[in-house]
Symmetry: C2
Subunit: 102 residues, 2 copies
């Protein structure tokens, strides 16, 4: 699904700060492999979110001992997430109205 990556990432980060690779794995696993987050989408998306101030990041160490950049959702990020969820649901309802005939 196009245009939902930011929302999915932000949602994932509400659980806990995570590094990029883990975010992608989390989403793929929860979606039962329906959604796949390519690296070429993931990292630009994370940069985008950071540039907008919706996430912050710092270098850390992953559970496997490797260097990893941990992302944390900010207050404005949570606000943005709320907006994205409601506009997503709004659009969904609208599509539903068109598709379910009438």
């Amino acid at each position: 699904m196009k245009g939902t990556l930011d929302m999915l990432i932000l949602q994932t980060l509400t659980l806990q700060p995570q590094h990029g690779y883990a975010i992608a794995q989390h989403i793929e696993k929860l979606s039962e492999d329906v959604l796949s987050i390519e690296q070429g989408s993931l990292y630009p998306a994370l940069e985008r979110l950071q540039k907008k101030g919706w996430v912050t990041s710092k270098w850390g160490e992953s559970p496997t001992g490797r260097r990893a950049r941990y992302y944390t959702i900010s207050a404005s990020g949570r606000k943005q997430l709320g907006k994205e969820i409601s506009s997503f649901e709004r659009a969904l309802l609208a599509i539903h109205r068109v598709m379910k005939h009438a």
Copy 2:
């Protein structure tokens, strides 16, 4: 919503053959003005659908007496619509699983 325009157009054409302007109006009205189909998206999309063989078109006359190109969904278009609906629903479920926590 990105990537759903083709589906919405094809769905609209299952009701009856229609010209571009009417398709856009139909979708906008049914969606209660949540979705808006810009001409710059609509006509390229119709060309795309035609190139793929999912719709056919011919010149006709609109109820207001103006020249208008009428689009009709083809058999392969209906097949494609089915595919798009199921992949849409599949993706939707996947997103739901990610968003509704877990």
